[in-house]
Symmetry: C2
Subunit: 258 residues, 2 copies
Amino acid sequence: MKKLYIVGTGPGDKEFVIPKAIAAVEASTDLVAYGLYLDLLGSVCDGKTHHDLPLGEEIGRARLALDLAASGKTTSLISSGDVGIYAMATLVFELLDQQLQGKEKHPEWLDVDIEVVPGISAMQAGASRVGALLGHDFCTISLSDLLTPWETILKRLHACGQGDFVVSFYNPRSKKRDWQINTARDILLEYRPASTPVLVGRQLTREDESITIIRLDELDAKDIDMFTLVTVGNSETQHIVNGSSEWVYTPRGYRKKL
Amino acid sequence: MKKLYIVGTGPGDKEFVIPKAIAAVEASTDLVAYGLYLDLLGSVCDGKTHHDLPLGEEIGRARLALDLAASGKTTSLISSGDVGIYAMATLVFELLDQQLQGKEKHPEWLDVDIEVVPGISAMQAGASRVGALLGHDFCTISLSDLLTPWETILKRLHACGQGDFVVSFYNPRSKKRDWQINTARDILLEYRPASTPVLVGRQLTREDESITIIRLDELDAKDIDMFTLVTVGNSETQHIVNGSSEWVYTPRGYRKKL
């Protein structure tokens, strides 16, 4: 059977990779991924054929993975984090959909058995490192307007504010996009206190991890890059300090019962 | 050092448990958890002292875990899914916060070193089983009004609709709460098409897993129970059928570039 695994490898540390992901890589002869992700996975990738493509070549990578699998090579298409969250999985199904509609010329793709393996997403790694920031209703918003119209992102920022959701911002900044995170901050400040706790987590679970907890009104693009996760609490999120430990949690409402 | 691990064990299947969670359980002498979760984890729990408490005793379970750790027993407090998402982690920090404010009488809790270990949440397992349902901005809403006022939940349902977020409903129904999911459906129908794809996933990754893909206007409380995850697509989510396979994906917007 022709097989394509679409695999998420978590935030970076191997201790966050689920066994099902390792098994998928082990079962594959061909891996389509950035080199960095394979370095993080380590020896399980030894002896596999590695296909790399430059950053930004997401469509090419998805096509290549489908082509390899259709040619009979068991293949893993690998992203860090959860491959189903702002990552490669949806692109593979978008290509399949195009083929089903006759807009592609790759009927062989339709013979590939596909299995998606989820992973720990950055927001989860970040929330766990500071306590329980995702303890109540939350949302995620990508601040990249390369594929999504800015008006749609604006609409979601306001909806997030109105709904008082904890929010994790993915793709908060890139070399060419530097103002979106400040606009997002200003919109949220219309809805929740300036003192709302914010997690700024960079290179989560990796060797050069840095984590800071700031106030919403201190959030600034100058402290953010493309390796950063930003999660903003809701209006009830608490920042507590116990000696040298500090924690952020979003209560579910047990307080009245404690 | 006095140590408390707060551990998420994923949706059920051991293949979805991260190594860091297994290591935490291995390092512990005492486990605070439902029996079912330990059965799913298997032999790693052998030889540990198991502390169980009835369903609904969440506060008691969090207190017990803090007490055990403070007494010098390395302890794991275990939930299925991601322990930071609608689970036990936030309750531990809520108790710590009460102690820091002098509203509890357990200063010994403040000497406990706490580490939170995230896990794969039900929404991730569900999305991966059907393709890439969480492929673009999404939110989560708990439909339990035991701890959250219904007005707050209503506000979030409307915000979700206005923002056109994919949405995963946690706690969609219990024995005593049977009408919330139908109200949630009716609110979303004000904002997105009746044909919007919906995942109804029960006992995800477990032996008796069942997964169905329906239309939003077919969603009904009679098909839901407390072991069910419901995820509703956004206005662009696609349901595609390829022979005997069917998939649901939420596009990121690559279509214009394909």
